[in-house]
Symmetry: C2
Subunit: 476 residues, 2 copies
């Protein structure tokens, strides 16, 4: 822990992997492409989960749980869906000591089994809407995996809703991508562009896919959450009809939406620096770490007494904190360790601090030191955490602004791709052109922006006038 | 929902299945032996989870997540473990479109993969203890399945701890079975006997297994949670050693412990009656349901106004409640539905109640009606829920007492088995005798009681003096 890590400028990808392991967020497992999420990483996930789950419930959603095994033939019922997922599934062929007559796949996503069940539950418009979310593990057999960003098994939530009208389903899909934006910006301090995926990039089986796109420290984009308007595709595949208010049978309209443990990768790469993680206070497992400093028993008593007093107040204020009173390692070692783990505020208490009835505080995000009195510290700590949260988002907004470039030609795009960041442009090309751009530049259209900078403009590629403004960049 | 269900006395097993489905706790899925946990059932599980998770964290445990796929050869490393679980596993043989070189099993429990990781993380006594818990799904290929009680896939938590001494591990195993007892009694209102499993019944790979045993409404026992002292078995199987304080290499000591969605089955069968579920207030998804009653618009306004006022106060008091203002069904239909769903308190508000500034309350557990004023109701509701919680446990304690019979001979055991309930007796028999008793009576030794009624006595089967007092009964 005390040893340094590879710097970002030296090798960003190596830096990332080292942070994940040294901050004890995750570790490699003996299962190909699967990781172990260690307690510190899982605590981060729990905080993300809790906040997101509250938002789901506040908007009328309920949690449920569907089988992780899906009959193999289910996947084949929706044409695009099977094409998208069949190459990635893991298959259970034997169980209970025998070969199975019908194989099962491990869910890569649950639309098929959920829509099979919805057929049983939906008869009339009075059974709608169904607003269900599931917290679950999923398996996608990926070729190239990377801790948190792309793993064979990952944890996520997947919402699956059923509606009586296209309009209502569209509103739902947009509401949910907006909730992801709130999660990203207000909790993860990670500004995101929000928009619609192109036909090339949408979810297999969706009519439309909406996404939030974040910008990592190495100026590559990371898709951080998606919400799909599925139209009647799955209702038709599973024959799910309802009797509408005019007593006519109609296919049900659907959405699905999800975010995953990939978000942890996003947090690392959005905020991290050469000392390790920097965690936003709202989701940090520990918001404050207290490090007592002493060399003899007298000082120890003095310092620990003050620390006790501080702990009591922090508990009352519901601050998540940890007292690191290990004696087997030095204070300096602890500083490095908690910096690596990204704890927003470090509090140092030495004998001299006790004498002046004060503490030393150090902000992880700025490194700024302060020397408040104990009373000032305790009165101000909640504000300080809020300030850090705000400043972290603010810093990232500036970073994104500095790295978003309005372009009007293909050459300009190539320049942006070279230096990193987002190219923002109007677009009137087709699917083949998009493929060609990807081949030639490795960059992809991340999304068609919901919030445009102007109503229309000339397509950077075709020169045609267009109302579609997109952001383009390399992406994870 | 309005139609009646099979009564308990008519067919207990049918009653159970109907309650699960009509209360919308779960539904059958298209996957053999797997169920769908519906939102109402899942909300119940979330409340159990939250309370249990808090107790885990208060006792120093952290959550983590390990892969659901386990390399097939791992299972074979612990001799008893493989014998116990190999017949039940599901096997992934193909993935990503190819046959795998090495197969994976879906975790039936995670000792093996976790101890593989612990080898990486444990070097010195300073790395101990490790106190990790995992919330996860597991798969056991069961022949005869039953909603919640025994399903191919189920949700559970599994704690896996590593310790420097046998003593510390033993204390941990006992601490955790006591936490399960607190969960069962203080939250689920379900009294349990707590004790040690016999050699015949212990967990494959454990030195000792402790269990909590509850008594269902049909007077059969249900094992509701287990905690295992694993000694050094898994440390030896995975070669996990640590340097102890005397600088010697020693194998690590272990525990594991778990409860599952089976607890929902236990709640149903402990408290339910011919009208359906009866839920303990502490874990009920809804503690109060408000049913407005009116026949015209004037009355409707009046009634809904009062209901609004009540809702505001219930929210402040953090009572979980639901206003059922559907107009498509009658109040009588709603009464039946919420009785089926086991909501602890029903509140009826009609125009006459508004006139006297009162409400009608009906307790689900006793059926007792009361006619408090609005102020009395609001002031008393928290107490009322506490009283219901207390009374439900008290009722079950009495039921268990009435159905626990001290016996001194095998004939007496047979009589108890005939009428149902627990036989309590001293035991000095061996494993073969236990098998014989099971063959002849279908009853099993549930556990060797931690809390004996007296120090020693004569074995009901062998006549030998013994210090081991057991409870025996048929069980799920």
């Amino acid at each position: 822990m005390s040893k340094g890590i590879t710097s970002q400028s030296q090798d960003y990808s190596k830096w990332y992997t080292e942070v994940v392991q040294k901050a004890e967020l995750a570790d490699y497992s003996p299962v190909k492409g699967c990781m172990v999420i260690r307690p510190y990483g899982y605590a981060l996930w729990e905080n993300i989960k809790l906040n997101l789950d509250n938002m789901f419930k506040d908007t009328g959603h309920e949690n449920a749980y569907f089988p992780m095994l899906i009959p193999e033939e289910f996947l084949k019922k929706e044409a695009e869906h099977v094409e998208g997922f069949a190459p990635e599934v893991a298959v259970v062929t034997h169980a209970g000591g025998k070969k199975l007559e019908n194989f099962y796949v491990l869910r890569p996503t649950s639309e098929t089994i959920i829509w099979y069940m919805y057929k049983k539950w939906i008869n009339s418009h009075r059974d709608l809407p169904i607003l269900i979310n599931q917290w679950a593990n999923v398996i996608r057999w990926e070729m190239r995996t990377r801790l948190f960003l792309r793993t064979t098994e990952f944890l996520w939530q997947e919402g699956h809703t059923a509606h009586a009208t296209a309009e209502e389903a569209l509103i739902e899909a947009k509401t949910m991508i907006n909730i992801y934006k709130i999660l990203a910006e207000d909790y993860l301090a990670m500004p995101v562009y929000i928009g619609k995926k192109t036909e090339n990039e949408k979810f297999p089986g969706a009519v439309d896919t909406y996404s939030i796109e974040a910008l990592m420290g190495d100026k590559k984009a990371l898709q951080s959450g998606t919400s799909h308007y599925l139209g009647q595709n799955f209702a038709k595949a599973f024959d799910v009809k309802f009797q509408n208010e005019n007593n006519k049978q109609e296919f049900v309209y659907a959405t699905s939406w999800g975010v995953s443990t990939r978000l942890i990768g996003a947090i690392i790469m959005t905020h991290g620096d050469d000392k390790g993680l920097i965690l936003p206070p709202k989701i940090a497992p520990q918001q404050v770490v207290i490090i007592p400093i002493y060399r003899n028993d007298d000082d120890k008593n003095k310092v620990l007494n003050l620390s006790k007093k501080i702990e009591t107040t922090l508990k009352e204020k519901k601050i998540r904190f940890k007292l690191d009173n290990r004696e087997s390692v030095t204070p300096g070692y602890k500083f490095n360790e908690w910096e690596m783990k990204g704890v927003p505020v470090r509090v140092e208490i030495g004998p001299k601090d006790v004498d002046r009835n004060g503490v030393v505080t150090v902000r992880r995000d700025t490194g700024k030191k302060a020397f408040p009195s104990v009373e000032e510290f305790l009165e101000d700590i909640t504000n300080l955490l809020d300030t850090i949260q705000f400043d972290m988002l603010d810093k990232q907004r500036k970073f994104r602004k500095e790295n978003t470039f309005d372009i009007e030609s293909y050459d300009e795009l190539k320049e942006v791709v070279k230096k990193g960041g987002y190219a923002r442009a109007f677009w009137a090309g087709n699917s083949e052109m998009e493929d060609k751009i990807k081949d030639e530049t490795k960059a992809t259209i991340r999304c068609e922006l919901f919030e445009k900078t102007k109503e229309s403009g000339k397509c950077f590629y075709t020169g045609k006038e267009s109302k579609v403004q997109v952001i383009i960049s390399k992406a994870y």
